[in-house]
């Protein structure tokens, strides 16, 4: 089954001419279509345009082979894109009714760079509404199912992308991560997910949720594939003023990597009561493997970790309440009629935003309102400084921090019912990286007794994604968790 190949294996096969990009793309579309009723990973499948792009890629591949020119590494490879990233001419709903029918007239920079490198956009993946959630249950268009157990959630908010990669519908997919939305679904679905440093990848065309936290990331079968995509999409973009002029270290992935000289910190605040025991065991076992590869392990402390949740759930909703003010039924999306403009605003927003988006807009509006601003939003910004300082101090001692991604493996659909705080607690270990702006990587390190994947998280110094990828790659050279496939 050619849709089962990793990105780098598919690239080699395309370059050797073993099959065409059209054959690969068609194989992916066939598998998506066959499994969509079980998984619901996609909100839009772009069959026609994908096949047209594949034919164009095949012409370039043929030309390159004839002339002996080097073949760009991503040329002809299908890519799934989370439905909060704009692709010109393709519906973009953000998992919300308020953007039903919206077709953006522009393409996100991260997507554009991959398209320019020859990748084929095969469709848009399911997401919690405006990326607000940890399970995809907040999508207005139905939940995505975890390929390892379809009665469970795939995590979120990039749950469609994670499920698509885990189920071998595509080899790589784009996600976004505001509080863990790439790393947690990667963990729940047994794939590798990279949240880059804030400012490393352009946010242009990433429909804004929490602007000081949002990052565009990648979900892949392994660290090497993630590195191949990340290295093309990263870098300064004049269309996003927060992207930084930092030269990316090339990601060097040796087949036999030593981690000698690398110091890994184990933050005691991330190994607490309430973690599923198998998660702690598997993460500990993975740390032992990193040690056997030459890394040195030391205990460290990130003392303000417990405040990350309250800080995040003030700052992210505050930013969301401002960012989501643009959805008013006037210029795009559905409109609920009213006799006056005010009624159009309030009725459209009241009717078309889902429960979680409404809750966060309300929470953020309150935190920013007169009389409460200093005590809530202002205080949260100050405690955010303390959380960042924790990381700065730890990175004076170590190169990376290793910890669980989430306290548990994938939970059952409906488990958190109508309890938003219980859902928010799913994010306790992923929120700090967004608040501090540092990169994080999630990769599979085993399975629990129900054969659900367990993930480990590495967090690194700003702009050192290369080191995190190198460590995960070294681990994946001596383990095979990342090659295991769900039975579908």
């Amino acid at each position: 089954m050619i849709s089962d190949l990793t990105l780098l294996d598919a690239t080699s096969a395309l370059q050797r001419g073993e099959f065409s990009s059209r054959e690969l793309t068609q194989a992916c579309i066939n598998r998506i279509t066959a499994l969509e009723s079980n998984l619901h990973a996609f909100l839009h499948i772009a069959e026609e345009s994908a096949l047209t792009q594949a034919d164009a890629a095949d012409k370039k591949l043929a030309n390159a082979r004839r002339s002996g020119l080097p073949i760009p590494p991503l040329l002809g490879i299908p890519l799934a894109v989370k439905d909060v990233l704009a692709v010109e001419g393709m519906p973009c709903t953000c998992g919300s009714r308020i953007l039903e029918g919206y077709i953006p007239p522009f393409t996100a920079t991260a997507v554009k760079r991959l398209q320019d490198a020859g990748m084929i956009i095969i469709g848009k993946t399911n997401t919690d509404e405006f990326a607000m959630g940890s399970s995809t249950e907040n999508s207005a268009y139905g939940v995505t199912h975890n390929p390892w157990d379809i009665s469970r959630v795939p995590g979120g908010s990039s749950g469609g992308s994670a499920a698509a990669v885990a189920a071998r519908l595509v080899s790589v997919a784009l996600g976004t991560d505001t509080g863990g939305s790439v790393r947690q679904p990667a963990s729940f679905c047994g794939v590798t997910g990279l949240k880059p440093t804030y400012g490393r990848v352009s946010r242009y065309g990433l429909i804004a949720y929490g602007s000081s936290l949002d990052c565009c990331g990648v979900l892949a079968r392994n660290a090497a594939d993630a590195a191949a995509v990340f290295s093309v999409m990263q870098g300064r973009d004049p269309l996003d003023a927060t992207t930084q002029d930092v030269q990316a270290n090339p990601v060097t992935l040796e087949s036999e990597s030593s981690l000698r000289g690398i110091r890994i910190g184990i933050p005691k605040e991330y190994f607490i009561d309430g973690i599923q025991s198998e998660v702690e065991e598997k993460v500990q076992a993975a740390i032992n493997i990193l040690t056997s590869l030459g890394a040195e392990v030391v205990e460290v402390s990130l003392p303000h970790t417990e405040y990350a949740l309250p800080v995040y759930y003030l700052i992210a909703p505050a930013e969301a309440s401002a960012n989501l003010a643009r959805y008013d039924g006037i210029r795009f999306g559905p409109r609920v009629e009213g006799s006056h403009l005010w009624d159009v605003f309030t009725r459209t927003r009241g009717a078309k935003f889902g429960d979680e988006a409404t809750r966060r807009i309300m929470l953020g509006t309150y935190a920013l309102s007169a009389g409460y601003y200093d005590a809530y939003y202002g205080q949260a910004q100050k405690v955010r400084t303390l959380i960042r300082r924790d990381f700065e101090q730890v990175f004076e001692q170590v190169d990376a921090v290793a910890c669980p991604v989430a306290p548990t493996t994938a939970f059952s659909i409906g488990a958190h019912g109508d309890d938003p705080l219980a859902m928010y607690l799913e994010d306790v270990f992923t929120l700090p990286a967004n608040l501090a702006g540092v990169p994080g990587l999630s990769f599979p390190v085993g399975f629990d007794a129900n054969r659900l994947p367990v993930g480990m998280q590495l967090m690194g110094q700003p702009f050192r994604e290369d080191l995190l990828l190198q460590m995960a790659h070294a681990y994946q050279q001596v383990t095979d968790w990342h090659t295991q496939t769900p039975n579908l």
Binding site: I330, F332, G333, G350, R388
Partner: protein, 113 residues
């Protein structure tokens, strides 16, 4: 003479954690331009109160000497030159709505007649 309290550590306003009233929730909904039913107001009153109760733990920390983190990377802004550039053509801008007329968005009255 310094003004009263100058140089003293400013006491932070500690907000008593009380459940929001239905009127407060209605006020927030009005500020956020959300039309909600009475049932929805009750639902959010309960949930927002629980969340605010949780985030109140931040009030325990003394942050009187801590600057706010308002951006991840401060200082080096990347502002482009203020030059006019071509924008999207009107028909493309209007393509996502059926409420249009004479190359403009069509809206109901803003003020009472």
């Amino acid at each position: 003479m310094h003004p009263a309290g100058w140089g003293n550590k400013r006491k932070k306003d500690i907000i008593p954690v009380m459940p929001l009233s239905k009127e407060e929730v209605q006020h927030i909904a009005t500020l956020a331009r959300l039309e909600l039913t009475g049932e929805e107001l009750d639902h959010y009153r309960e949930q927002l109160s629980a969340i605010l109760d949780h985030v109140a733990s931040l009030q325990q920390l003394d942050t009187s000497t801590v600057p706010p983190m308002s951006a991840v990377f401060s200082g080096d802004s990347h502002l482009r030159a203020d030059e006019s550039r071509p924008s999207l053509p009107p028909e493309q801008i209007l393509a996502n709505t059926s409420h249009k007329s004479d190359g403009q968005f069509k809206i109901p009255p803003v003020f009472e007649k």
